[in-house]
């Protein structure tokens, strides 16, 4: 019974609004654009941050990545011919870390050397990653064919290599891949597996793996290529001695990530005279990115909410005018026996119908805009249920808030005066 009355109230409200189609439409427009911009802005904000978050998550939120870095002052002095710059992480560092920290579950040391690889007539400049089996646990990528490195490869010092899908495409071009022998630099390796690789698109985040990687056992890399690399740049040698280029550490729990990173930093400060390393914590980056995203959403959302507010004020304005215009009608209804609350309900239902329909149309608009943005500019946008529900609820709320005052004003109309009103 109550429900039927409610439905009837809504129907009557709609009828009344339809009597002034243009006015109702214009009144609604404020809410339409308000809700539309909230939905659109939230989805743009969500889209912008989603990419960054995904990239960071690829690094692994339990991981700490320590990378060798050439110290800034070394750059200048290394210009002399005979100078060899020695920097970065050492095998000793790796050992010290694994022995010191019991919060580490696994560690993957890596040597990164650029070499040209050749297979038959095809060749490609690759990044040789000398690492252990742990690498593939820490940076999990789908295996396309064969297998990844095993601890036994390391122990037996087998010259085996794991290619990425990209490398395999370039070098093998559809031929049967596993078991073929690949020349890297001057040495031959047996291809034992192919894995997928990620490509990093976010500007600030360096993913540990690249598509031009080839993975070989660390011990092999060490014996084959040594720790010293030579680069010839415009007539001068540049010799560098770096034992390990990167160590990826996996911590046993998220709560241990940041303390462990701090402790490692302290340890490195003690054993490294120069700052020739960098410690990056994906979790910290993740937190930072999330905080940025929140701020972004709040700022965008607030701006859009202001337009919703303007829409609400527009509704109130029109409803107040409508109350004045319909004073006589209110008087008649009151004389016939309508209670104050029934008058309030009548006007409140009208504003709520207005703002709700406006909200629904606005959501439609707000969903369309990000689709168009993505279509024409390629900018990622994400529409979440929250970014639709929130503005919709706000628009209904605005109907109540901005409808209440005009409705109460209507109910306060004195029927005697109202009946005399022209």
């Amino acid at each position: 019974m109550r429900q039927r009355k409610f439905v009837r109230n809504i129907k009557l409200g709609m009828e009344n609004l339809l009597l002034h189609k243009l006015r109702s439409f214009l009144t609604m427009l404020g809410v339409v654009f308000g809700v539309g911009s909230v939905v659109a802005m939230l989805s743009v904000g969500e889209g912008a941050s989603k990419d960054a978050l995904e990239q960071i998550q690829k690094l692994g939120s339990n991981n700490i990545i320590v990378t060798s870095m050439k110290p800034a002052d070394e750059e200048v002095s290394s210009n002399t011919r005979s100078f060899m710059s020695v920097y970065g992480l050492t095998y000793e560092d790796h050992q010290r870390i694994t022995e010191t920290f019991h919060t580490l579950r696994q560690t993957a040391p890596a040597k990164l050397i650029r070499k040209e690889a050749r297979l038959g007539e095809k060749f490609l400049e690759l990044r040789v990653v000398g690492t252990t089996a742990a690498w593939f646990d820490l940076i999990q990528r789908p295996v396309i064919a064969g297998r990844v490195l095993l601890p036994s490869d390391e122990k037996d010092q087998l010259p085996v290599a794991v290619l990425t899908e990209f490398g395999a495409r370039r070098l093998l071009a559809g031929e049967n891949t596993i078991g073929q022998s690949l020349r890297i630099g001057g040495d031959y390796f047996e291809i034992i597996g192919i894995i997928k690789s990620e490509t990093s698109e976010a500007a600030n985040i360096q993913i540990p793996d690249q598509e031009i990687d080839v993975y070989i056992p660390l011990t092999i890399a060490r014996t084959y290529y040594g720790d010293t690399t030579m680069r010839i740049t415009s007539g001068s040698f540049q010799r560098e001695r770096v034992e390990l280029h990167q160590i990826i550490l996996q911590v046993d729990g998220m709560e241990h990530v940041e303390p462990t990173a701090l402790a490692i930093e302290e340890m490195f400060k003690r054993f490294h005279k120069k700052k020739d390393y960098r410690i990056s914590v994906p979790l910290a980056l993740l937190r930072q990115a999330e905080a940025t995203k929140r701020t972004f959403n709040i700022v965008l959302g607030s701006i859009a909410c202001i337009s919703l507010l303007v829409g609400g004020i527009g509704i109130m304005n029109i409803m107040l005018a409508s109350v004045t215009e319909r004073t006589r009608e209110i008087g008649i209804r009151r004389a016939i026996g309508a209670k104050r609350k029934q008058i309030i309900a009548q006007f409140l239902v009208e504003t709520m119908v207005l703002s709700t329909i406006g909200g629904i149309v606005g959501v439609g608009l707000g969903v369309l805009i990000p689709i168009l943005i993505t279509h024409f500019s390629g900018m990622p946008t994400v529409i979440t249920p929250g970014s639709i529900l929130l503005p919709l609820c706000i628009s209904v709320g605005i109907g109540i808030i901005f409808g209440l005052y005009p409705a109460v004003r209507a109910a306060k109309v004195d029927p005697i005066i109202a009946l005399r009103h022209e």
């Binding site: 009355k5 008649i332 209804r333 016939i336 026996g337 309508a338 209670k339 104050r340």
Partner: protein, 240 residues
């Protein structure tokens, strides 16, 4: 009529005792009703007359439960009206009263049918019942076939008929008519008055405000007011 239990309650449907209504206009006090006592019997047809400022409009508002007395008593159908709050007054209007106005006071954007249905909506009748009743009422006042017109498409006499149909929708005990013929030509006015007479014959109590003697002549009793008090009562009834 429909409310048969109330009939045994006594012949007086309305009783005013020492009714006072005082308006404050700045520092001045204006006594629109200055202690007036009168009873209206069930089924009577009264005309309230008087020059402007005599208090007849105020009396009408009080009787119509649209306004409250400053002091004194107003008893409607054995209920003490003076003590009631706004909601209860609305309820009384909805249950016992029907209003007819000089300027018809139809809601212009609603059709004739919707106008007639207005009290039924507040009474909580469903759409079907309302439609049936409004058709019945339109027939009663001779407006069948006009149900879907809007008020501005009707003549004055027709509009007043719609108003009467609306006033009758809730089966009121009392119809309060405020200059019901004021905006109509004589012939149409006569038709409306005849309709009121007919209703009165069917048992509805009618109280009509007018300042025209020939219109007041239709009523069975006449109450003449001056300065907020009763000047004279004419006709078959008793007054105080």
């Amino acid at each position: 009529m429909s409310d048969s239990t109330k009939l045994s309650a006594g012949p007086d449907i309305i009783r005013l005792e020492k009714a006072q209504k005082v308006y404050h206009m700045g520092t001045q006090e204006v006594k629109a009703l200055a202690g007036m006592s009168i009873s209206f019997q069930r089924g009577s047809f009264w005309a309230i007359m008087g020059p402007s400022g005599s208090g007849k409009s105020t009396a009408m508002n009080i009787l119509g439960c649209l306004d409250r007395l400053t002091s004194g008593r107003y008893v409607l159908e054995d209920q003490e009206v003076s003590a009631l709050d706004d909601d209860a007054l609305s309820e009384l209007r909805l249950k016992y009263l029907g209003f007819i106005f000089q300027s018809f006071n139809l809601i212009p954007q609603l059709t004739v049918q919707r106008n007639i249905e207005l009290p039924l909506y507040y009474l909580g009748l469903d759409t079907l019942e309302s439609a049936e009743r409004s058709k019945e009422l339109a027939h009663k006042v001779g407006l069948e076939g006009r149900l879907h017109h809007r008020p501005q498409e009707l003549s004055g006499g027709q509009m007043q008929r719609v108003a009467i149909a609306r006033a009758l929708a809730n089966n009121p005990q009392i119809i309060l008519a405020d200059e019901p013929t004021g905006n109509l030509d004589t012939a149409t006015g006569k038709q409306i008055l005849n309709l009121l007479l007919e209703l009165n014959e069917q048992g509805t109590t009618i109280i009509m405000v007018t300042h025209e003697t020939d219109i007041a002549a239709y009523a069975r009793q006449r109450l003449l007011m001056r300065d907020g008090v009763i000047e004279r009562i004419e006709g078959e009834g008793t007054g105080q």
